[in-house]
Amino acid sequence: MNQRLHLALLRGAALLVRAQEREEWLAEWRAELWYVRPRRRTAFCLGSFRDAFWLRRNGPAPVYLQSPWHCLAVLATLAACSAGLAFQLPLSRQFLLAPQLPAGTMTISGIPLEDYRQLSVDPSRSAFYGPPRFQAGSLNVALASRNLFDVLNVPLAPAIAPLVIASGDPRLIGQHLTVAGRTAQIAAILSENVWQLPGPANAWLLVDDQTLATESWGYAVAQMNRPTTYVSVLHTAGSVNRFICVPLAERRLLIAFLMMIGVGGLVLPAVTSLSLGEYPGSHGRRWIFLAAKFAFVLPIVLFGSLDLFSLIAIHLEAHAMIVGSVIGFRWVLIDQRRRCPVCLRTLTNPTTIGEPSRTLLEWYGTELICTKGHGLLHVPELRNSYSEQRWLRLDSSWSGLF
């Protein structure tokens, strides 16, 4: 078991190493692992990630990302693939294509059935359901008005005794279940990721008003004409009952998207420098390229997070969006800093210049060159206020060298 874990750690780290170096890198680490005492093997294997990161950071950029057009094409392909996958996988598809709630949809919890019937709301735009009444496997089934999901704008498959389930595989629609000795047919499966009805029920059996009359209290759903915080019911005896109205909140994609951008943008300065270096003159194409990369990274992260959620069926999509946006934005900035501002190709041939012992008094860092002969980029090993990365433009007199 432990040996498998250690090999899995090494294989995981190997994914960070470039494909052409991966086999030899893994062979070396596996050979070295053989000599390590069992107690120290986990710490030893975790060190492999640092080694793999070092190789990744200090190696040349992948060939397919060197040209700006190739880079954008790769990003566009990734964005299209992750979006296509999100619309194919059942859970993410359900989230993306969930019907929109009608405007002004409110819920009222703990309302007696008698009071619900006296509400001054159009009966076709309001519905009632009770607390869970039956148990069917893991389902807590409540009785509900026939029009509950018409009010919520959820389309139902035709069924004689329709049952709606809060979450699950959409392929279950049409299957039969026995609820309290009666056969019910699954007419819809909601996406709990979009909105949730109040109460502990996670399945609703749609029944007629006569059957529903057995309920004494429950929950009401209504489309209100205007936003309201409470509704009043006047009794014949002169007393007034007031019930608080709560809007049925939708967790829409737009909110998740804006949150992803906001949190990612806030965290970004902590993980990389926001500066793109000193570049004399304006290079409009450079900014357009930067904007295009951001524009492609956003859908990759958004749909990629939904794909992940759909594949592992665990609600980690919000976490994945935030972590993904930070990693994606960081890559965009680092990639931009390592490109020629004229032709936008990735700079190559990194060369260490100077010595670490002279960091404070002289220049020490890495020099990269544009293969088209546009210039040199000086990247200091230690960035500070007086030592930012600089671009040295080469004029046409250098063209003979390239």
Binding site: R30, A31, E32, Y35, A43, R50, D51, W54
Partner: protein, 106 residues
């Protein structure tokens, strides 16, 4: 790479360990007490700067000893010159990690 290249103390220790005959990564770790996450990236850096070079041992040797083949590291000429300069800067390194022949003489 200039012969006078100055190394950090850690890099000089690793170079000294390789010079002393600890030719593969785990042996360097054992000798210096440094973790794997420090030793291997440092050795990659030394190899990139052409101070050391690596070579896989012949599989037949490893098979005869019933173990996986090792990747051995050796100092280059530039590495030896750099180590000599580092020993002047960090004189204790040579005493901490003596070369095999020096141990025999002692």
């Amino acid at each position: 790479m200039a012969a006078e290249t100055k190394l950090s103390h850690t890099a000089a220790m690793i170079l000294q360990a390789i010079h002393a005959g600890h030719g593969y990564g785990f042996s360097v770790m054992e000798m210096t007490g440094l973790p794997s996450g420090t030793v291997y990236p440092a050795m990659r850096r030394l190899e990139r700067d052409e101070l050391i070079r690596s070579q896989w041992e012949k599989p037949s040797i490893a098979e005869a000893e019933l173990r996986p083949p090792r990747k051995y590291y050796k100092l280059t000429r530039a590495g030896k010159a750099t180590l000599d300069a580092s020993q002047k800067r960090y004189p204790l390194i040579a005493k901490l990690i003596p070369a095999a022949e020096e141990v025999e003489q002692a």
